[in-house]
């Protein structure tokens, strides 16, 4: 079946898996790549050129910790030269005022700094990095001094959900334009650690009420984006706006993925920018076309009136919870697995994100 594939709009560039933090919900895969697998500067620059030709208007420079790449300024400059909007997604514990200045000079458009907690002790406990909170606050100030707009990213889970109001105060105090209250999504590391991380129903409902009210109160002052905890929803999220619809991810070693967790689906194989032109991968690769559009959908998604709204939800979550990546996302009430969704394994300590550890048992 052939279908027209439109231009891609957004790209997540995972420049490295190296990171000074060890959060137990990291969105990187459980099997992390070492530095010797990372793409060379020239390959990233060429990939960004191809991405701009393909219609990409925004690139999110992420990791791991993207600022550990010493060539980050060059990569930003390459994107800026093509008019691509650049967004740096950083933990901000290893930055200096000078480095931020150089990135701004290279043409960086926006900085997103993650805060693991709104309180210093929480930030330190979740990321396992001493004095992280103060370093982040300092970096946020340097970014604002350099004229860069700031988003505070707050990944929310059981251990910090009560700090949501304090995250709002923090964002206002730091002069952020935007606050992302991003409830952790449970794949990869977060799925492994779900019994320690998944918040309870009441706490989630309190959070939703607070965010809705505060968002209204702060209209025109602070943009609050809210990523909901889909385990407590009746319908799935429109994951990636549809598989292969307008965005893709490039891993540190050059694999091109329809979403950052796609490697958790073992039946998919992914092409690399080191082997094929990006345009061919985007338009023709099997991994992108497998769940593109609607033809792949089984029932109940196929005839569902919401299929244009949520595209059947998340393929990675469907696979993790049902063993079938084409199944209806179990966060949907129409999934036969919906009832089992919140049944958690016995609580155990958080397994820390580490590079190079032998296979971790789920």
């Amino acid at each position: 079946m052939t279908q027209t594939v439109g231009p891609a709009l957004g790209m997540l560039a995972e420049l490295t898996h190296r990171c000074p933090l060890q959060c137990g919900y990291c969105s990187n895969p459980v099997e992390l790549l070492k530095a010797d697998r990372e793409l060379a500067t020239e390959i990233w620059l060429d990939t960004f050129e191809q991405a701009a030709d393909l219609g990409i208007l925004q690139v999110h420079l992420s990791g791991g910790e993207p600022t550990l790449r010493r060539d980050l300024e060059d990569l930003v400059a390459g994107l800026a030269a093509r008019g691509v909007y650049t967004n740096l997604i950083t933990a901000a514990v290893t930055l200096s005022r000078e480095r931020i200045g150089r990135l701004a000079e290279a043409g960086l458009d926006h900085v997103q700094i993650s805060f693991q907690g709104a309180r210093p002790e929480t930030t330190e406990r979740i990321g396992y990095y001493r004095n992280a909170h103060e370093k982040k606050r300092q970096a946020a100030g340097w970014a604002r001094d350099a004229g860069l707009p700031l988003t505070v990213n707050a990944p929310i889970h059981k251990l910090n959900i009560d700090e949501v109001p304090e995250f709002v105060d923090l964002a206002l105090e730091l002069g952020a334009q935007r606050l992302e209250i991003a409830n952790v999504q449970y794949y990869g590391w977060a799925y492994l650690n779900r019994s320690a991380l998944m918040p309870g129903y009441d706490a989630v409902m309190r959070q939703i009420d607070f965010v809705e009210k505060t968002r209204e109160d702060l209209t025109g002052i602070l943009n609050i984006d809210f990523v909901t905890p889909d385990y407590y929803a009746d319908y799935p999220k429109p994951c990636m706006g549809g598989w292969g619809a307008d965005a893709f991810v490039v891993t540190p070693d050059g694999k091109v993925l329809p979403c950052h967790a796609a490697q958790s689906i073992p039946s998919l194989t992914f092409d690399s920018v080191t082997e094929k032109p990006l345009k061919d991968i985007w338009e023709k690769s099997e991994a992108f076309n497998r769940y593109r559009g609607f033809d792949w959908m089984p029932e109940p998604c196929r005839s569902c009136e919401r299929r244009d709204i949520d595209f059947g939800g998340c393929r990675c979550q469907a696979f993790a919870l049902t063993g079938d990546a084409a199944a209806t996302d179990p966060t949907c009430t129409k999934s036969p697995f919906h009832g089992d969704l919140r049944r958690l394994p016995p609580e155990q300590p958080i397994r820390k994100r580490v590079i190079g550890r032998e296979k971790i048992d789920a």
């Binding site: 458009d109 004229g147 105090e173 334009q177 935007r178 025109g220």
Partner: protein, 102 residues
């Protein structure tokens, strides 16, 4: 840091783009794109006509007069729509009014 407040758009407001927002023509798609943190907006022709007049210097009154002339429409008819539009985009923090810096 001064406490931030919501800007209420009046005829004397001077709407402009903060440094982190860019309105640019996308050759590939043949339409205007407004690039903002983590968002891309696709304004229609009328919206582009308004946004392109947001220089940070022209007042809302001047923008309305200019649009009325170009589109041969009565000021009293388009005025409220333009003000509503600018308030909405100001609330999204995509345009900023007045001469204050980010």
């Amino acid at each position: 840091m001064p406490a931030r407040t919501r800007h209420v758009v009046t005829n004397l407001s001077q709407p402009g783009f903060p440094a982190y927002v860019r309105l640019q023509f996308d050759e590939l798609r043949g339409r205007w794109a407004l690039l903002a943190p983590e968002k891309v907006y696709w304004p229609d022709d009328i919206s582009v006509a308004i946004l392109n007049r947001c220089t940070g210097e022209a007042t809302v009154s001047e923008i309305i007069l200019d649009l009325a002339e170009e589109f041969e429409a009565p000021v009293e008819e388009i005025g409220p729509d333009v003000r509503d539009f600018l308030q909405e985009w100001s609330d999204r923090l995509v345009i900023r009014c007045g001469g204050r810096k980010a």
